[in-house]
Assembly symmetry: C2
Homo-oligomer: 347 residues x 2
């Protein structure tokens, strides 16, 4: 007799449960899925058999017939992007509460794996798809449209959505920050920004608003050129890139008095570099970030930033997918989750 536990080689099936409870297959199924239509006695016998066998329903098999997988695909550019984390966490939690699981995939910031990932996901027949960001490649958009399942794009409000959209206007965020720095009396502003799509929208909103505020005539809506000093860093941005960005800005543009950063991580780096050079913040240099990361309120001095409802985006996206799966028509729904400039000590 072996000392290691000896479990049955094959997992118990509903068939095993039914036989042990001496009922038919379908009665066992009903006892578990719709208990109220089964007599109490039968229900108890089935439950006993379930406990005895350690039966766990095979959702794959059931889903084949009912065409429901109770799986939702989640697409992120890269998992190690702090900004999306609360969204993914809320998504996971909200879905789990409704019996769904999240299947997570990385598209890559360059969209290189987007189409392949969408195909791989569709092959698993998810009941819905949530994307942090927009679906960029035409092939992926077509695939998703043809799949006939609810799709929620998030963290954006622009463009023409594939189906549903939960986010906010990045251009409005940029404009609000410009207004804030202007109101603080800054006139020689610079930008440190990641090179991703959403950061570019914020930068454009910032520049256009700035030109309007300062009455400059050479407003540039061209994405490749800029009227203001800009340091670009590769996405995803971090503290180290922020330091490097400020080094670059100060070297090329003496006398700047404020920096808008496309993420709080970047802003924290700019703050750090400023301090290492003996610059006073905000007296010599004002700094504004984006995202209201968990550390933003606790830097020294505390970081002015833009608060985003990252958790709410995940929750709303999950709710929309679930509602649609339950038969409610949410097609085309667009939710603006808004934003708020949070002034702290760096401006």
């Amino acid at each position: 007799m072996p000392s290691t536990p000896n479990y049955p080689a094959r997992a118990a099936t509903l068939h095993d449960v039914a036989r042990l409870a001496d009922v038919s297959l379908i009665t066992a199924s009903r006892a578990l899925r719709t208990p109220h239509v089964v007599s109490e006695k039968t229900r108890a016998r089935v439950q006993q058999a379930v406990d005895a066998t350690g039966y766990i329903p095979n959702l794959l098999a059931g889903g084949l017939k009912s065409r429901r997988s109770f799986v939702v695909a989640g697409l992120v550019p890269e998992i190690s992007v702090a900004q999306f984390l609360p969204t993914v966490a809320a998504l996971t939690t909200t879905l789990a509460q409704a019996g769904y699981q999240l299947m997570l995939g990385q598209t890559g910031y360059d969209h290189g794996r987007e189409e392949a990932l969408v195909n791989a996901m569709i092959g698993r027949r998810p009941d819905g798809v949530v994307v942090t960001g927009l679906v960029h490649t035409a092939a992926a958009r077509t695939r998703l449209a043809r799949a006939g399942i609810p799709v929620v794009e998030t963290w954006d409000l622009s463009g023409d959505p594939l189906d549903m959209l939960v986010g906010f206007s990045h251009e409005a965020v940029g404009a609000a920050i410009a207004q804030h720095l202007y109101d603080c009396g800054r006139r020689r502003v610079a930008i440190a920004t990641g090179n991703d799509h959403r950061a570019a929208l914020r930068r454009r909103g910032f520049e256009q608003a700035w030109m309007r505020l300062t009455g400059a005539s050479n407003a540039s809506s061209n994405a490749s050129s800029s009227a203001l000093p800009v340091a670009w860093v590769p996405a995803p941005s971090n503290l180290g890139l922020g330091r490097r960005a400020l080094v670059e800005l100060l070297a090329r543009h003496a006398g700047i008095d404020a920096v808008y950063c496309s993420s709080d991580q970047l802003a924290h780096g700019v703050l750090t570099e400023a301090q290492s050079r003996g610059l006073r913040v905000p007296e010599d240099l004002a700094i504004c970030g984006f995202g209201d990361a968990d550390f933003a309120a606790h830097t020294y001095p505390a970081l002015t930033t833009v608060q985003i409802d990252s958790v709410g985006i995940g929750r709303r996206a999950a709710e929309l997918v679930i509602a649609r799966c339950d038969g409610t028509n949410t097609r085309g729904t667009v939710v603006d989750t808004g934003f708020r400039v949070v002034q702290r000590e760096t401006t």
Copy 2:
């Protein structure tokens, strides 16, 4: 004629492809799965039918027969824990390269959802399970053992693993940090630590080594009491909690000259609080973190910490699961990924 694209209501099946290509079902299947056993001509006809119908194989249906889902379950305490992010990212990438997808779930730091999550995952019949951390509850351990699939626990080396293990010794990490601070000439050390399992192991390793080094006799291996000043913070730790921890330590224990922190986020907070009080780092206070986060090399002054192969853990875990699914026996494998104290400027 409607202006919106009108896709077939039902997704194409292999049946549709076979009929269009005028071959049998199984031939169509083989043309896609094992092309080399099918004539070139047939293969081309099938491929043409696939393109025409936009067919995407239903892996759920195939998996029912072949007992392979090509899905691996990933269990994390909470997604928003920066420490595990590189592991999860590497896991996802390595699995995707081999045709697997990651199904992600959150157990909660208190293990409250661990059993329910394991049951939900098992119901989807994953080909393997990777856990960041150990499986703590007995019920979950039993379920996983009975499922008969490869399980990799990670980020630890202690205890008795369910199956496979990829990690490092947290007690050895604690001891190494104690040695480092001792070598730096510090004698009045304190600890700022999260209240999770792994952080507790590091603290114990630290304290035991410290007692040995300083020749103190009241070494306490008791988890609830401590011979050194300790500030506990709830997991997951962050910068704000680090500031609060230093406030608490300085209030209760005047004259400490070094703080070991259970995460770099915590250490960054301690550093920030020290600077806000005009303490010089490392002259007045040495600080050591853990994890070598992306920002650690770029704080001012740069943070001394412990480098962990977070990416390697994810990659190795994925490789072990994949190998086992491919028939290689990796049962019981234990991989020590090691660690390295990285001295920078805060010690």
